[in-house]
């Protein structure tokens, strides 16, 4: 299931809802992405600047389609009992939650791998853009080569170690 929303989410309640009553689940992997403060070398507090807020813009309609496609891909690659992806948009301050991915499977490797896969693909395929607001103004965040490389590892390996 995927949700794109401005509102915050309740991690404990979401995980509880997903697991309740499903005794086929042996492992639940989750990832929460948060707005973090900049470090000094990134222009954080000691280096001047400092992140005041992050604004996430997205492409309504296409975002939901891409996330649904990514979820379907994960379900095709791993034997999953359930999947949840929640991604927020709008203005978020340091410490606020941006994204939640939860995967449930009989086995832990399937849960772990599919959760990492979903985050990697989401970061490189879902149409979201971050703008950083600092004392010196607002600027769009550049895409990171490390995110592209992280996503590429799933293209080459197939990544389904859980089938062992």
């Amino acid at each position: 299931m995927i949700r794109v929303q401005a509102e915050d989410f309740d991690v404990g309640a979401e995980i509880e809802r997903l697991t309740a009553g499903n005794i086929r689940v042996g492992g639940v992997a989750s990832f929460i992405g948060l707005v973090r403060a900049m470090r000094p070398e990134e222009g954080g507090p000691d280096g001047g600047g400092g992140l005041k807020a992050m604004t996430l813009e997205h492409y309504p309609g296409m975002t939901e389609r891409e996330l649904a496609r990514i979820e379907a891909e994960a379900r095709g690659r791993w034997p999953l009992e359930d999947v949840l992806v929640i991604h927020r948009y709008g203005r978020l301050e340091p410490g606020e939650r941006i994204v939640l991915v939860v995967t449930l499977s009989a086995h832990r490797q399937a849960a772990f791998e599919s959760c990492a896969f979903l985050m990697d693909w989401l970061k490189t395929k879902a149409p979201f853009w971050k703008a950083e607001e600092t004392a010196s103004g607002t600027s769009w965040v550049d895409a990171r080569a490390t995110d592209t490389r992280a996503a590429e590892r799933w293209e080459t390996s197939g990544g389904n170690r859980a089938a062992e």
Binding site: Y59, M62, P127, W129, A143
Partner: protein, 88 residues
């Protein structure tokens, strides 16, 4: 003219540089690919020219699907232009 209309959406710094979130344009009949459409859009304003100067940094979706520059553009299409994504 309505029958050749294409809706163009701009996101992130493409929106900031063009000053436009969405516009409906009517390119001439010779414009049949995404790449040609982008070249043609550059002539609409200095903001468009600035936003689209380096096409290597622009990602394109047609009707909400990622496509390459040789993808066809047809009347009624929704063409979105945006930078590499940075969510998550």
């Amino acid at each position: 003219m309505q029958d050749t209309a294409v809706t163009v959406l701009y996101f992130a710094w493409l929106k900031a540089r063009t000053g436009i979130a969405q516009e409906t344009v009517a390119p001439p009949p010779a414009i049949v690919t995404v790449g040609a459409l982008i070249e043609w859009l550059k002539g609409r304003s200095p903001g468009h020219a600035h936003a689209l100067a380096d096409v290597a940094t622009v990602r394109v979706a047609v009707n909400q699907e990622y496509v390459r520059l040789d993808h066809p553009v047809r009347p009624g299409d929704e063409v979105a232009l945006f930078p590499p994504v940075t969510g998550g």
